[in-house]
Symmetry: C2
Subunit: 417 residues, 2 copies
């Protein structure tokens, strides 16, 4: 297996540094003399035979890719079902791989993508097509199993911690005659990692954020309102970080709106921040403000964590090495060697142990009262937001992000579906 | 008038660089051997005789103040009425000034603060107390008269342009199977300056943001939805920037909630972004997302504009020089000398021509269709977001913002109210 092309695809929600992994993949493959094709819009591009040739990217452009947020080749929210249920699609993928001599498939995503990559590798093996499938980890939710942390999370965490800190200084300055309670909504459907990252903004009982509402802890309105009232009385104001995935005592999402579901059948969330703020305003009668940063928190490349960037680059490079060296059905993951000084390395882990698992916050990361992060949590999180890696800026005041239109490789197969 | 103290107070909503003006005030006054007192929570601190002594700040701390967002001494939303209506308060201010030998009063704020500073200077003159009142401009709304731009705006504008650009890259990457329309809500109660700044994120008909909803243009739902539909069909997605101050054809704020007013009697806004997003979802049936950055946009010191920072420092320094050199009832403002290369200087302007005026966007800055910014607007805005001025960061990944508790000067008067 000395010839062939490498296919790289992005999957699921993009991050501030997923393109850094892409950049590392292209660089590492070029060093080994291997051509990288990129699927347009993730697995959809592979099914549709919409393959972009990255060969035309200059070395400078490949480097610029590493400081550009979004997903340069397009990503998608599409999950393949089981081999039996979606056999035609899996067969099609193999057909496209054969047509373009794809011998290495790198899938950059979260839980669902690990599952897809695993199934593709199994089908290839059973049908005798020589293919190496390697996952590349990515998710701002930080909920992948086996890896100590997920590329993309550190930058979203840094954005969250810095933004909570800055907004809290604003609130503190105005609280005497203006906003008393400020509510900051973070992403994180089932795991409170980003909510916890908000906790890095302060340290000590009176420093913001004063209360964190985790998806792991059922929301108790009366208890919460008591704590808000106490905090305003003691500190003069109260900053609340709330996870979009906050659930009530009945286990239902507080923000759930009936009938609104995404392609995976997950409820489409958003709006728990304003809902909590409205509750505070109505029940306590104080002036409130709220923010929902939404996509800003996962695309803020201008505030990327250097640790996160380094790890995104490292897993991209490792994935290429694993694949070209013959590993199959694996994912490069981050292993933490020590907290302080923070040391880590990349190791190979089987996709079968990652696919469809979900890593929640360990209970010992949340304080006994349920509203804060413990020192253990802080020791885990702080290294992940360490260091800055700002993009270069143009004379017009904006970051110099890469914008490039890649040529599509001519199709060799009939259209699919 | 060779002795006396200088009193500095912050007013209204804080910005990413109002503390830079404070820093420059303290530095410039120290160079002239003058002690700076800072009122706690703006004019309230002056009324309550809560005066902080800045003498204990080290030179390093004064410099650190210039890279710290929020309002270091506290600000407030309190507006004094006319001399007749609020005479007791104005008299009290003079009493406090006399008790602490305050001979120079610098008030750092927007329209309302210019009005207060003007009235204080008039009362002092009529009562024979030797006092110099000088305003220091500040507002993210950019709506002060006479000055070419307002310190605080450039950084909020840079935050907005960069955030719209980054979120748009995220939306573009996912649009094929996920969010088609993204709505970004900006501040700006009556003037669309920050909405216009969002327009800097892109240039050209198909680059985001595709539609800007200005407070200056009455919202036409049918026309707007047509444009969204067309844009999604042509580009694949649509990014909308909407001002919190968007009004309907009846002239009422779209986000107005009955009975919710702030201390100035203004309606408390917020929520027009989600409302526009919901309209798009219901009428066009596409997946939408929205963001309301709220205070993040005016406190994001980590993404300050270097131009804005330089101007915030320059007006702080100039205010001290004007006051110590005997000017009264004036404000240092920015005069633009040329667009390209961008050149500016600080000049003295009478507070009487600034107080209670409001500078709207000139009609020639909005495109004929009402949804975009013109080249003239771009020429005006671009220099204001030029350059970066990041704060230093700590090992814990957070900006090294100044946190200091200043001692209060002992009170010499009975309590007021």
């Amino acid at each position: 297996m000395s010839t062939g092309t490498l296919l790289y695809a992005q999957s699921g929600g993009v991050t501030a540094v997923i393109n850094a992994s892409a950049s590392a993949v292209i660089e590492a493959a070029r060093e080994r003399g291997v051509t990288v094709l990129a699927a347009r819009n993730g697995i959809l591009g592979a099914l549709r035979e919409e393959l972009l040739d990255t060969s035309s990217l200059s070395a400078d452009q490949v480097r610029a890719l590493a400081h550009t947020p979004g997903g340069a080749f397009g990503s998608c929210r599409v999950k393949l079902k089981s081999l039996d249920a979606d056999r035609a699609k899996y067969e099609r993928l193999l057909e496209v791989f054969r047509a373009h001599d794809v011998r290495w498939f790198l899938y950059n995503g979260g839980n669902d993508s690990a599952d897809t990559a695993l199934k593709v590798s199994q089908l290839a093996a059973s049908s005798g097509y020589d293919l190496r499938c390697v996952g590349v980890p990515k998710t701002v939710d930080n909920d992948l199993a086996l890896t100590d942390c997920c590329p993309g999370f550190g930058s979203a965490a840094k954005y969250t911690a810095v933004s909570v800190l800055e907004a809290a200084l604003d609130v503190a300055a105005m609280a005497d005659t203006s906003t008393k309670v400020f509510v900051y909504e973070v992403m994180g459907r089932h795991a409170g990692w980003l909510a916890a990252a908000g906790g890095l903004a302060g340290n000590g009982p009176d420093s913001a954020p004063h209360l964190i509402l985790f998806p792991e802890i059922a929301f108790d309105e009366a208890k919460f309102l008591d704590r808000v009232r106490e905090t305003v009385a003691r500190v003069g104001y109260c900053v609340v970080v709330v996870s979009e995935g906050l659930k009530g005592p009945d286990g239902k999402f507080l923000a759930e709106s009936a009938g609104s579901v995404d392609a995976f059948g997950h409820s489409q969330l958003g709006g728990v921040g304003p809902a909590i703020a409205a509750t505070v305003k109505d029940k306590l009668g104080v002036k409130v403000h709220w923010t929902v940063p939404d996509y800003l928190q996962r695309s803020a490349r201008h505030l990327a964590s250097k640790t996160d960037l380094d790890q995104a680059l490292a897993v991209g490079r490792a994935a290429v090495e694993y694949a070209l060296d013959g590993q199959n059905g694996v994912m490069p993951v981050i292993e933490r060697l020590s907290d302080s000084p923070y040391q880590w390395r990349v190791v190979s882990a089987p996709l079968s142990n990652i696919a469809n698992h979900e890593k929640k916050m360990p209970p010992e990361f949340i304080t006994a009262d349920g509203y804060g992060i413990t020192d253990a949590c802080r020791r885990y999180l702080e290294p992940l937001i360490h260091g800055e890696a700002p993009p270069p800026y143009r004379a017009n005041g904006l970051p110099d992000y890469l914008t490039v239109v890649l040529a599509q490789v001519p199709k060799r197969l009939p259209a699919f579906e």
